[in-house]
């Protein structure tokens, strides 16, 4: 019962805070740009406005609407489930929660791709394929490292090595520069989102914010688990650490440029695969 209540609280906090953190990121970006920037709640204002617009169903019709709604549902469920992890780790039953979380996250990505390629718009289709390429180059490594951390027990070296993989792959999943190639405004005119408007765009915007929240919180949880915390202490620490991780993500994206569609998977695969080999070696050595 307590776990369910905590999960509900985490869910509500996550849904409310994700757009606020996004507003913070915009403010931070403006600061680095020497601009004033929008108010911190601007992303919420944007969402309220988008949801007040008329419903325009893009070409691709019900597939698009269905996938965008299911994607949000999967992400909301992921946020709720994520709060279980520190508790589950401390009680030794991490497997189910972790696997369910991974499945939901993967489904959300798959739905983004389905939504993008179902559009009768070439920019959207190309964006969908780019999203697919990125997902293939990052999500398997995210799953691998997440499982290793959640089930790594007291093997600190193994967990540290896995943490490195998770930090990189979680950043890629957040869809920020240099890995925003599925949208890449100057190249694809918003790519996967080009056909979306009004409430549907609002849902997609919320999904993006939640995905970034997940990426930040997942990294925060991994950090506290590797640091040796568990249970409610880990949960509280992870929640407190999430905005800090978000800020770091934001700063990285501000300081870098966009990668190219063929460079991104090559670099990612090379880096993450090498790190995985190192991690497996560490596992084999029993470190």
């Amino acid at each position: 019962m307590l776990h369910s209540l905590l999960s509900l609280a985490a869910l509500l906090t996550g849904v409310f805070l994700a757009p606020v953190y996004d507003g913070l990121e915009r403010k931070l970006r403006a600061f680095v740009h020497t601009r004033i920037g929008p108010p911190v709640l601007q992303t919420w204002y944007d969402l309220v406005k988008l949801f007040s617009k008329e419903l325009v169903v893009p070409e691709g019709g019900s597939w698009c609407v269905l996938s965008v709604v299911l994607e949000l549902t999967a992400l909301v469920a992921s946020v709720a489930l994520l709060s279980y992890v520190p508790l589950a780790v401390s009680s030794g039953i991490a497997g189910v929660e972790v696997v369910t979380f991974i499945v939901l996250l993967t489904v959300a990505t798959a739905l983004t791709i389905v939504r993008a390629v179902s559009q009768n718009n070439v920019y959207s289709v190309i964006g969908g394929f780019r999203e697919f390429t990125l997902a293939l180059s990052s999500e398997p490594f995210l799953i691998f490292s997440y499982l290793a951390i959640a089930t790594g027990g007291e093997r600190l070296v193994l967990k540290l090595s896995s943490l490195l993989i998770l930090v990189i792959s979680a950043y890629v999943v957040s869809g920020r520069i240099p890995y925003d190639i599925a949208e890449a405004e100057p190249e694809l005119s918003a790519g996967v989102n080009i056909e979306l408007a009004g409430p549907i765009l609002g849902i997609a915007t919320m999904s993006t914010a939640l995905k970034r929240f997940l990426a930040a919180k997942l990294t925060a949880i991994a950090l506290v688990l590797v640091a040796g915390f568990d249970g409610y202490q880990a949960l509280a620490l992870a929640l407190a650490l999430t905005p800090a991780v978000w800020v770091v993500h934001a700063l990285v994206s501000i300081l870098l440029g966009r990668t190219r569609v063929d460079m991104a998977p090559r670099t990612l695969l090379l880096t993450l695969f090498s790190l995985c080999v190192v991690t497996i070696t560490i596992y084999g050595l029993g470190l």
């Binding site: 190309i126 520069i177 190249e187 501000i254 870098l256 440029g257 966009r258 569609v261 063929d262 460079m263």
Partner: protein
């Protein structure tokens, strides 16, 4: 006239050219159309670049239609202009594109605007829209500027078939229209259609509502970024044609303002390039630094842009000690901040990796297409009008012309970065050496039917204005902006490039169009085609 120039002239005379006029840095020859090809080939072989060509309706003064081919002997600092007259009833001139590829566009423009048929090459409409009536040529003297011939709207939207691969959005909010033929995300060929917002400015300047005095203000409105270049080039052309001696102080002031304009233009471009590569921090800081130059321009001229200080025979605004002090202080700030910015931008790994080795234009292609400005200098061509044909006060200052041989996007970026620093040094020298005296001649007169070619190094490259004087206003005024010369090079730069590199490569020539994007993507494997955004009946053409 130097010996090497006379030697070239003698050779041209031997090939059938007849000298019409020799001026300080210009030689005019009249050529029979049957001998044009051999003369063009000889000039090209002598190292000349085709600056542009201009169709002129000379029926009122010579009873013929003509095309003027303007070649520049950069190393000798002299222009050689070939005039090819033809009778109206037999208005045909053989193409020189096989000998001089850079003549492609200007030949087609002469065909569209003056109605001279170009023989021996595929022709298409370049400037006039497809639905413009046949036989109506706007730059003929019997065509009134206010005439609006009936036109029928055509749409290509119903022609779309097949499934496209690889969309492309040019990312520049100007009316360029590129058709990219792709295999997957790899570009295999490119076609371009421009001139969607052709304003007929040349024709307008010939209309009764304009006089010599007013045209500088019209010329300055050709471009919202390098407008002062155009007004300067126009007044220089008129001054050369009329033999007006401009006071030295005015020449210094013009040079200072031209360099301030270059600073703001290059900073603007650097910001856009950073934005296209997703590095918005670089974009914002480049434009923040640019703001200093805009404020400086306002302080010096009264306007942030479209300065309006050029008049024939001088300038309208003088510089005092306060303005000069402020200029030096601003330059110190700009230099300090720009050096830091350039260092940061060039250290961003994505910018380095995406600009290196992409959009390559070889030296031979650059030479054949007569590209200009930073595009030429990044491909190893030492071309800078300020050095080759020193004008205004540039002969009084020393500066370096940045030169790279890689021909890629990074080279073009580096050329502009270095030019910013050189411009700052040029302005400092000009301020230091600014002479006293008047800023404009007291009176001037422009005799009719005099000709002159003027060229100024704009931020994007060589800007050329050709003028034939008339009574109270130009008889013919031809403007060739640098982008006109550089766009055809995009085909060579884009072939084989990934779609993701196309925006940066197009931006790397710092193109100057106006405000609509239209793109068609072809899949060459399936022959599938889809029109993404297209408006009125325009048909694209190979670059």
């Amino acid at each position: 006239m130097t010996d090497p120039v006379l030697k070239v002239v003698e050779e041209l005379k031997g090939l059938g050219g007849v000298v019409e006029e020799i001026k300080d840095r210009e030689v005019y020859l009249v050529v029979d159309r049957d001998r044009l090809k051999s003369l063009a080939k000889a000039l090209y072989s002598a190292g000349a670049y085709l600056k542009t060509c201009a169709g002129v309706d000379e029926r009122q003064v010579q009873g013929v239609l003509s095309i003027y081919y303007m070649f520049g002997l950069d190393e000798l600092g002299t222009d050689v202009i070939l005039r090819v007259p033809v009778a109206e009833e037999d208005a045909k001139i053989p193409t020189i594109v096989p000998e001089v590829p850079a003549a492609d566009w200007c030949e087609l423009e002469a065909r569209d605007m003056v109605g001279i048929e170009i023989v021996g090459r595929p022709v298409r409409r370049l400037v006039l829209p497809e639905d413009w009536p046949e036989g109506v040529h706007p730059l003929r003297k019997d065509f009134n500027y206010s005439t609006r011939p009936p036109r029928g709207f055509k749409s290509e939207a119903s022609e779309e078939v097949g499934v496209p691969l690889g969309p492309y959005h040019p990312a520049l909010h100007e009316p360029e229209y590129f058709e990219l033929y792709v295999e997957g995300e790899k570009v295999v060929d490119v076609a371009y259609r421009g001139f969607h917002v052709h304003r007929g400015i040349e024709k307008l300047a010939e209309s009764p509502r304009f006089t010599y005095k007013q045209v500088p203000f019209l010329a300055e409105r050709i471009c919202g970024i390098c407008g002062f270049v155009h007004s300067s080039c126009y007044v220089m052309a008129v001054e050369k044609a009329a033999g007006i001696e401009v006071p030295e102080r005015a020449e210094f002031i013009r040079s200072i303002v031209l360099e301030v304009e270059r600073l703001h233009s290059h900073l603007l471009w650097l910001g856009v390039a950073a934005h296209l590569l997703g590095y918005d921090a670089g974009f914002m800081h480049a434009w923040r630094i640019r703001e200093h130059t805009m404020v400086l321009a306002e302080y010096l001229t009264g306007s942030r842009k479209t300065y309006g200080i050029n008049i024939i025979g001088g300038v309208r605004k003088d510089l005092n000690v306060d303005k000069l002090d402020k200029t030096l202080k601003t330059l110190a700030t700009v230099r300090e901040e720009f050096v830091k910015l350039a260092e940061v931008v060039l250290s961003v790994p994505q910018i380095r990796s995406r600009a290196s080795g992409t959009g390559v234009l070889s030296r031979s292609e650059a030479r054949a297409l007569s590209v200009v400005g930073p595009v030429a200098r990044a491909s190893g061509l030492y071309r800078d009008v300020r050095k080759d044909y020193p004008y205004f006060a540039y002969k009084e200052v020393s500066f370096r012309v940045p030169l790279y041989t890689e021909g890629d996007n990074l080279a073009r970026l580096l050329v502009r970065v270095e030019e910013v620093l050189e411009s700052i040094e040029i302005i400092k020298q000009l301020v230091d050496k600014l002479p006293g005296g008047p800023i404009a001649v007291e009176s001037w007169d422009v005799p009719p039917y005099r000709r002159a070619v003027a060229a100024i190094e704009a931020p994007r490259g060589e800007d050329v204005h050709f003028i034939i004087t008339g009574v109270g206003k130009p008889y013919r005024w031809r403007v060739r902006a640098p982008t006109y010369q550089n766009i055809p090079a995009l085909r060579a730069m884009l072939r084989g490039a990934p779609l993701a590199d196309v925006p940066l490569t197009i931006a790397s020539i710092d193109p100057c169009f106006s405000c609509t994007d239209r793109v068609v993507v072809y899949d060459v494997r399936t022959g599938g085609r889809r029109v993404l955004r297209i408006s009125e009946g325009v048909s694209p053409c190979p670059l």
